[in-house]
Symmetry: C5
Subunit: 299 residues, 5 copies
């Protein structure tokens, strides 16, 4: 990565070393994020955690922590409640507190999405200070195009600022969605959305991969400027397909790492760990596809 | 119970002994909750307290306190107003302040449910400090699938955090409900809901028993992880049927105790006390059905 | 009255003597409230204050204060604005600040009722402290069954708590109302509503008299437990009928006094004073009907 | 005026002399208000300031300040923004900060009116303290009968209280309006509205003149009690007609002065000044119509 | 410019020199603003930054900062997030933090526009203090005529006041918009809108140029009084046409400078710089059209 790591101006001088250390930790100094997303228990209820294609391990939330502790990851993102409950036994994981979440029970066709901030940054900082946990940042989802976007934009802007004030990273999940959003995967629309995230001041924008070849992401990466773009893992069916797509996103479009959930935790522990390691190798070490597949296969 | 009792990370070090003492008290060290629910005066107005199948005693709210004082229970949950009024005469009861409540007058078909927080945790703590009452925790109801779920999720997340900050337990009543919830008793949906409660960080999730045999609860218990699951008493008609179901929930599905309201307080005082004692024996002592029935029958 | 006067637990020890003095004052030590309600200028605009059956005196708001100063009453309830304006000239009246009010211009059939808190308890306390006025309590109206009940329940719960924290009494006007409330005068529904008020922690619930004989109020009185129940004066046409009904409510149903507005202030000053005195004699002194009528008639 | 000037009880003792001085200033000791209203730039956009019947002067907002500085007025009411911009050049004018305003672009038939508080009283006080400007009071509009009346009643009640706490006067513009208000000029309804303003605690209620002879205002003046009533200038076409009506309102109905906007500022500066002087003479000095007309005509 | 530069009264004495320095900086002492607007990444998503008529440079947000750093401008307006990210490398640019923004995804025909405040002025001031950046002011958009105008008016009024309290300038983007706004470009309506901005207390109103010759702006300029009016750049296709229109706005209608976005940043860097310089020459130096065109053409 040629990009130097600098702190934005809303990180005050006495928090810069902490901020940079957090950024260094979640990117292993590469500038590329490897985020393991474990916030689906609200977003998708228990749908992602049981089923014919889902490892038995995944029914227990501790599976997420076991993976995050044993695998090479950048940061593990989940809700504060789970972190508070399990992190004392997994103190070495870097955590990112996902600050909002909603269920999928009310369909978008019936009501535009609204997801509100659960905890305040002040509460997150209090948790960090009294627990000594390794909390590296916060996350939040916005739905541009929702009739409720104004409420989420305000919460996002303020929490990013306050996170930076306390040396924490901020990652925004950004999904255009609402009754007036015709195509959530339109590359030009997604470029608009990464521009919003940059305007909000986040460090990373997590978007859904747009329709088309990885190269269509270039517009979004460019529009985001110094805010770095990562893609959600989505529904890729094979590990190899997933890793090839990630490699292409990074090397053909300048995507700055990955943010992967189901593709990791729906696998049994051992395989999930190896899959994380392969993802991290691609993002952190510029490992090629063949070597990454070897890591994944444990061969 | 093989589960060790540990405090979540949002309980600060200087509140851990209080939190653990509260948890120990409401579970009698068993890890299983015995919650006597007395919050129906708002939820069901006076419907639960008078009628042909309801003991005459139950028309007076003090009936609830008499049972809670004389019976073996874990904790008695009701609104702050009733606690403030009666607890000075019943100082030995451990109380759980139920922080929100709504009536059933507006049907779900007309408007998705919304139940807002009445008192703040700060007010509860002030009450605890100035009164010396034995307040062990707080409770709150969420309705995942309601168009208003965002408001309740935010209130729940923050009050659980603040409760833990002050050494209080947090129990979430979690009922999927709204115009887009097709089946409130679907076991998979209830597993989704216990996962939400775990993500919010509560100590216990109180859910309605799903349709089917007690074993269908295993998915919900597993999805909740270290957050423990208890079932609402529901409409079981006989004491024996109730106790058998509870025994099966605990031993076949890993349910961590019980949360019972009408099934207790609609009985005359003496019978209600014996019924509580039987429930507590099953949950706290691993008593079998026959012995529990003997306790209930006072024989 | 056999009920002893005790302070609820949310009255802190250093405010208990003030709270008990306030309760003693508004009940003259009887445990029964005599509340003169003068909050109709918002609820009914000027409809209650002019008309063929209304005394000329009543067009001037000072009429209310003249009555309250000259008659034997427990407490005079009206909005803070009127208290601030007239109380300096009527410093001996015990006041209850009615904290919310709405007009009747938007019909329930068009929108469920919402009445929001005007002043904070902190403002009321500031007024008490700087003015030296005899402010004994606060009042608030809830509309269970309204789509907006959640907002009013929260305001009510918090203001009752804060009132008690400062040694003030709390009276809740509780009227089931909304598009889904079929019969506002159903005795069982009113019993539900007094149970809500008890759960909120108020000292007194003011309800509309249900349909039927006074004895139907027994359910509501019982459901309220230690929260005492009084009835709004309603539309009784003759003074004798009014006093007979009140006597029956108290002695046949255990109603704890009265809350009367139009029936008092629509009379000329002298008659209004005598009418108050008769009401107070029934409530405070257990005076019989014949003696009460003599007091009213000034004979 | 026989009414003595007393401070309401929500003016604390150490602010009473300031409050009384403010009241004395805006009424010139007469107890009657002369308010020059200059808040129409939001309410009516630029409609009141240009046109065939409007003086060229009126297109520039400074016209308002020139009149207020040169004429005999009680107080000049406008938004804080204009005061902040011009008052340094017009430091001798007594100002009343109008705290809310809305446009007329959304018709009442489409949505019931809502006008929210712009600045807080705390901000007004900060402005007063740091600028040394002669800020005598605050103003606010309520729309009883609007579906949003609850929000405005709460803002009004609190800001009146806080204004009094800081020695400031409070004037409420009170207009019944909404889809369920059949006749905004019904005298009985307007009497209801002045009663609301009295209940809120304001010093003056500004209402639209009801339909009919000035004497119909007696009900409204009486209903307001110690809160004094003034009428908006409305659409009277001739200066003489305006002054005759005002004289009649005061002497036949007990109206306590005037609140005039367009009728003043749509005239050229010199005429506007003389018109103000005539209005003030009627209100402050009990000047008769003929003398007032001489003042207006400069003869 | 004959207008002297004075601080409004809501700038406290100890912040006046800072306020005046900021005003002097963004107008180069001319009293005329030259604002380079770079807030379109939210308002128009990526539509303004890529396309056949857009310079390749414009796809990267840093393009905006490069222009602002190299060109003669008054102030560069964009969201706090972008400022925080790039300003450390461009410390000499004077910044104006645009405090609200919305997307164009929900059409006005479906819902009246609402754009909420992202950051608080307190956060902006904290950023200024800890970063040492040259933050000269704040900006905010209002939509008079929207059903949500009340919410935006309140936010605008308070943030303008707080900005002035801290020596910051305030610019309001003011666009009449909503289902009841028939013609957003009606000159008389735009004059109404500049009057609103003056009432709110802003230093500058940014409006869309009304339909017709530049002289139609005279009404709006006059209605704004001491609040100065600038026009958005709009969709003028040629540089010469743009500059001629700007010159006419200033000299024929008294417009106080310019606020230009797309017309600047859609050009390649070098041309954009020269275009800014031409705009600034017209506004700051009273340069004529021919000389301005020479500056633009670099000849």
């Amino acid at each position: 990565m040629s990009r130097s790591i600098i702190a934005p101006a809303d990180v005050p001088p006495d928090e810069r070393s902490r901020y940079l250390a957090n950024l260094d930790r979640v990117t292993e100094g590469s500038g590329r994020l490897m985020l393991m997303a474990g916030d689906q228990k609200v977003e998708h209820l228990n749908d992602d955690f049981v089923g014919t294609d889902v490892a038995e391990d995944d029914g227990d939330p501790e599976h997420l922590f076991r993976i995050a502790a044993q695998a090479r990851i950048g940061v593990f993102a989940t809700q504060l409640g789970l972190i508070a409950r399990y992190a004392p036994d997994y103190p070495d994981i870097p955590y990112l507190v996902k600050l909002n979440a909603k269920t999928n029970l009310v369909p978008t066709a019936s009501a535009d999405p609204l997801s509100r901030q659960w905890h305040t940054v002040e509460q997150v900082v209090r948790l960090r200070e009294t627990s000594g946990l390794n909390i590296a940042g916060v996350g939040y989802t916005i739905y541009p195009g929702s009739r409720h976007e104004a409420e989420m934009f305000t919460e996002a802007a303020r929490l990013i600022f306050e996170a930076h004030q306390h040396g924490l990273l901020a990652v925004i999940w950004a999904y255009p969605r609402g009754q007036h959003v015709a195509d959530e995967h339109d590359p030009h629309l997604i470029a608009g959305v990464t521009g919003i995230v940059a305007s909000l001041g986040a460090d990373f924008a997590k978007v859904n991969a747009p329709t088309g070849e990885p190269a269509v992401l270039r517009e979004a990466v460019r529009a985001a400027g110094r805010t770095r773009v990562v893609c959600a893992g989505g529904g890729e069916t094979t590990a190899e397909g997933f890793l090839r797509r990630l490699h292409a996103q990074i090397h053909e479009a300048g995507v700055a790492g990955s943010a992967t959930g189901r593709n990791i935790h729906q696998r049994p522990l051992d395989e999930a760990v190896r899959f994380c390691n392969a993802i991290s190798a691609i993002g952190f070490d510029d490992t090629g596809i063949d070597d990454a597949l070897r890591i994944y296969r444990g061969s």
